[in-house]
């Protein structure tokens, strides 16, 4: 199989795998309690995976971000958190400020 097709098949499989949970949720709705321990474990694993992915993307990036020093990325994260609270808990404001900080640091200091 050509590589492009393999990728599309993989994405379709991931889509089907994701729908499995959504569809199963409809089938089981009203019959099981969504706060039971199994779901708490599922939530823990999901949050740990996403947080792990994010920490890896920021600390050990691949691609274009390897060109930036870790200090810039850390400062941009701090700027984003500060802007989030200064903007009245605004996700958009915080993220925009962080991106601007990273670009400005890279532009100013190379």
């Amino acid at each position: 199989m050509p590589e492009a097709l393999t990728t599309l098949v993989l994405i379709a499989a991931c889509g089907a795998g994701t729908y499995l949970w959504r569809g199963l949720g409809v089938a089981l709705s009203g019959r099981i309690n969504p706060t039971r321990p199994l779901f708490i474990w599922v939530g823990c694993v999901a949050y740990a995976m996403v947080a792990g992915l994010v920490s890896r993307l920021i600390l050990l990036p691949a691609g274009s971000l390897t060109a930036t020093p870790l200090a810039y990325r850390a400062l941009a994260c701090a700027a984003a958190i500060a802007a989030y609270y200064l903007g009245g808990r605004s996700l958009l404001f915080g993220v925009t400020a962080g991106v601007v900080a990273l670009v400005a640091l890279s532009a100013g200091f190379g």
Binding site: A4, T7, L8, L10, I11, A13, C14, G15, G17, T18, Y19, W21, R22, L24, G25, V26, L28, S29, G30, P34, P37, F39, I40, W41, V42, G43, C44, V45, A46, Y47, A48, M49, V50, A51, G52, L53, V54, S55, R56, L57, I58, L59, L60, P61, A62, G63, S64, A67, A80, I81, Y84, Y85, R89, L91, L92, G94, V95, V99, V103, S106
Partner: protein, 278 residues
Amino acid sequence: MGAQGCAMIAGRLRCCQRRDAIPGLRCGRGDRYGCGAMRMLAWLPGEDAAREGAGDAVGVAAAVMFAGFLGFGALAADTGLSVGAALFSTVAIWALPGQLVLAEMSAAGATWVAILPAVMLVNARFLPMTVSLMPLLRAPGTRRVHLYLTAQLVAMTGWAVAMRRCPELKPEDRLPYYLGFAIACWFASLVGTGAGYYFAHAFPPLLKLGLVFLSPLYFFVMLACEVRQRAWLLAMAAGALLAPGFHLVSPEWSILTSGLAGGTLAFLVIRASGAGDA
């Protein structure tokens, strides 16, 4: 597409319920299958509720979706995914964390044996989410097949809004409201994915840097500032600490293994401390 456009889609779907509304789509016996498919979609009774839902989405929710998927599009371009694959993943998966996992793991050289279980695990949260959402959306006359179609549009943003907003609505208005909201968000995601991919190629390197950083930063702020439950916080800390180390040992398995290890560790600690308050 604004509220108007989404309501138009909802309205058009509804038109199909009137058999003579669209010439050529009459429900004769000979046309059972084509019309059946149309009718399957044409269940929206509340055009106004759908418009209201779409109107609620246009604004902060759609902007947040757009920004999130803008970052995903840029990251997908940076990791070497094709634009078709990036857009297809937004249609087929429509869950940002799962799509990021997919893009990152493919870039790290993982095969489907690691990618599929990782994407399924990170998206397994849809099961409890759908379980808790569906009883709210279901009105006395709602057909099950419509709930199964709606399930594809269950995602974090719409779920959180619907859980808060739907109890205030009449039961028969809830499903159209949710669909209006979710379709508007979905459209913003699709446009964001394409725009992010395009800009990552079109922008000068410095601005591209900002776009590629958008996705990690978006989740960093969201997780650090908007998650409250102790179990989730503990799981995130464990995952964030374990992942870089695991990555150095085995880049293609690190997301799956550090998530399983960190999540299970947090779960056990929370259970042992006797506070199942997640």
